[in-house]
Amino acid sequence: MTEAPHHIISYTKLTAVWGLLLLLTGATILVTRLDLGPYKILGALTIACVKSGLVIAVFMHMKYEERLLRILLFVTLVTLAIFIGFTFFDVLYR
């Protein structure tokens, strides 16, 4: 198999993603202020997922990687999501 060609991302794009990350950080703080009960954690985690997804896709170049590598990473993240989800299932209904 060959290596994926080296990809260079423009400054504008990088800055835009950075700005988006800052916005999402703001949203995380906002969520803690809202009265959502147990769903507060769900909201915070969802935002965190979007953020780490952006970092992985753009800053870590996963968007431009081989298919196999992307699948492997996806499986890993889904597994983690399931672990967290099942644990919450207990906590929510206790």
Binding site: T76, F86, F89, D90, V91, R94
Partner: protein, 541 residues
């Protein structure tokens, strides 16, 4: 590759390739075979140490009251026995020792993808083990929490939990590194013609195992760091007084430790899937289903950890889900058992030592698995939870299952790497002693548990005395068999009859090369032309 580009192949066995024989030719070697043997002998050393502790536990339980030790010593001993058996023996035992020895050859590769990382994983393993050993003799002495390190006790006890847990943390890294190495190797280094549907089932099982090692072990690492954080900084993650949740610890611990039992059992199943067709002279029945069920076990097995927590105050709804999922995992496990039995059907069976271990694996693993369902059903678990029934059950799975499979692998594959073999008759006697001793020891424990004898106590009510004596005597028979097996095996490897390339008539690639194998494994890259259980073509790639 054009053969004339190469000098004629010289077969120097990997034992004397460097001309050096000192210890440095081993502990700094990046050859997968040498690393495999390093792992093998280290793992065996820890196994024997922990067996000794197990025998001491049984002697203490021989009669009610204090027999040879008090409660504190007993608590420390079962903790150290369990921790060594799990983290230093059976988890590294298959991937580290036999995975390293056999897997690269079975896929037709020269070595693993990252040979240096491979050596590093052994070093991590030894460093972690050293830290664990140091923890036994320093600070407050050996940990007394059980191998599960449950809070709140582990956060409070004065024994040296922090250091021991840190040692396990390091050993965890060695496991992750091996997993990464194996996944990469199996994806990238298969010889031409070694398609996924020609992969030996042992390799399939290691592949599934490697994924569990990669995905689950980091969670154990983090959990252990959290224990240290609780002890040193008192952050209160698991302390309700500070808003924490002790049940959360159990979640985190079992998210790793239930999949970890698949690190222990999957490669064992792989070994059995190799041995049974070879000694029945028949292609394995249902190759695809066995391969697929390895992946299914690894995936579904990651979702059942809650069955360890039915009595811990988990929500009823979660209990329902975890109980159901536990029964789901029984399906792929049973698929394997049925496939092995179908392979035996009408085969031309030869009962040599590896086969005896494989057959007893099927029986003992089935007993272990079925008693597991008693524990997996929430209603019955409430009665037998934390009794000796559990102790009997998991010894049937990890000792009668994984342990016996490892012994089978030792008889089956070590002659390949030493070029010599054990004597058959003593091997059969040793197997018989172990099989009988094993069942006496652990079946008694299951009955005791059913009657209500709890686990992890040095003492018990007088009505449990007779069966405890039986169990202890059983453990002596088991020990005699074990010693006989090892003496015979090691003598055979040093002075036994030389074996040719293919003593058992196997059809996988390791049997096409000399015993012991040359450093490069294959004189030139093999081109695979047939499946792993196509015995009409045995001995050719």
């Amino acid at each position: 590759m054009n053969p004339s580009d190469h000098p004629p192949a010289v077969f120097t066995s990997f034992w004397n390739d460097t001309g050096k024989t000192g210890i440095t030719s081993w502990i700094f070697s990046t050859d997968h075979k040498r690393i495999g043997l390093l792992y093998f002998w280290s793992v065996l050393g820890f196994f024997l140490t922990a067996v000794l502790l197990g025998l001491l536990l049984r002697i203490e339980l021989m009669a009610p009251g204090r027999t040879i030790m008090g409660p504190e010593t007993y608590n420390a001993l079962f903790t150290v026995h369990g921790a060594i058996m799990v983290f230093l023996f059976i988890i590294p035992g298959f991937p580290g020792a036999f995975g390293n020895l056999v897997m690269p050859i079975q896929i037709g590769a020269r070595d693993v993808s990252f040979p240096r990382l491979n050596l590093f994983s052994w070093w991590l393993y030894m460093m972690g083990a050293a830290v664990i050993i140091i923890s036994l003799f320093t600070g407050g002495g050996p940990p007394d929490t059980g191998w599960t390190f449950y809070v709140p006790f582990s956060a409070r006890t004065g024994t040296n939990v922090s250091l021991a847990v840190f040692g396990v943390f390091i050993v965890g890294f060695s496991s992750i590194v091996t997993g990464v190495n194996f996944v990469t190797t199996i994806h990238r280094l298969r010889a031409p013609g070694m398609s996924w549907d020609r992969l030996p089932l042992f390799v399939w099982s290691l592949y599934a195992t490697a994924w569990v090692q990669i995905l689950a072990t980091p969670i154990l690492g983090i959990t252990l760091v959290l224990i240290i954080a609780e002890r040193v900084l008192g952050v209160g993650l698991f302390d309700p007084m500070k808003g924490g949740d002790p049940v959360m610890y159990q979640h985190l611990f079992w998210i790793y430790s239930h999949p970890a039992v698949y690190i222990m059992i999957l490669p064992a199943m792989g070994v059995i899937s190799e041995i049974i067709p070879v000694f029945s002279r028949k292609p394995v029945f249902g190759y695809k289903m066995i391969a697929f069920s390895s992946i299914a076990i690894a995936a579904a097995g990651s979702l059942v950890w809650g069955h360890h927590m039915f009595t811990s105050g988990m929500s009823d709804r979660a209990i329902l889900v975890f109980s159901f999922l536990t029964f789901v995992v029984a399906i792929p496990s049973a698929i394997k058992v049925f496939n092995w039995v179908s392979t035996l059907y009408r085969g031309s069976i030869s009962l040599e030592a590896p086969m005896l271990y494989a057959l007893s694996f099927i029986l003992l693993f089935s007993i272990g698995g079925l008693t597991g369902l008693i524990l997996g059903a929430a209603a019955t678990d409430i009665h037998v939870h934390d009794t000796h029934f559990v102790v009997g059950h998991f010894h049937y799975v990890i000792f009668g299952g994984s342990g016996f499979a490892l012994f089978g692998a030792m008889h089956y594959w070590l002659p390949k790497f030493y070029g010599r073999r054990y004597a058959e008759k003593p091997a059969l006697i040793a197997w018989g002693l172990m099989f009988v001793g094993f069942n006496i020891t652990y079946f008694s424990m299951m009955v005791l548990g059913m009657k209500g004898m709890p686990r992890r106590y040095y003492d018990y009510l007088p009505e449990f005395a007779p069966l405890n004596l039986v169990s202890t005597v059983g453990s002596w028979i088991l020990a005699v068999g074990l010693v006989l097996m090892l003496v015979n095996l090691i003598r055979g490897l040093r002075k036994g009859e030389p074996v040719g390339n293919n003593p058992w008539g196997g059809a996988t690639l390791e049997w096409t090369i000399p015993s012991p194998p040359p450093t490069e494994n294959f004189p030139e890259e093999p081109v695979v032309t047939h499946g792993p259980y196509d015995f009409s073509k045995a001995g050719t790639p």
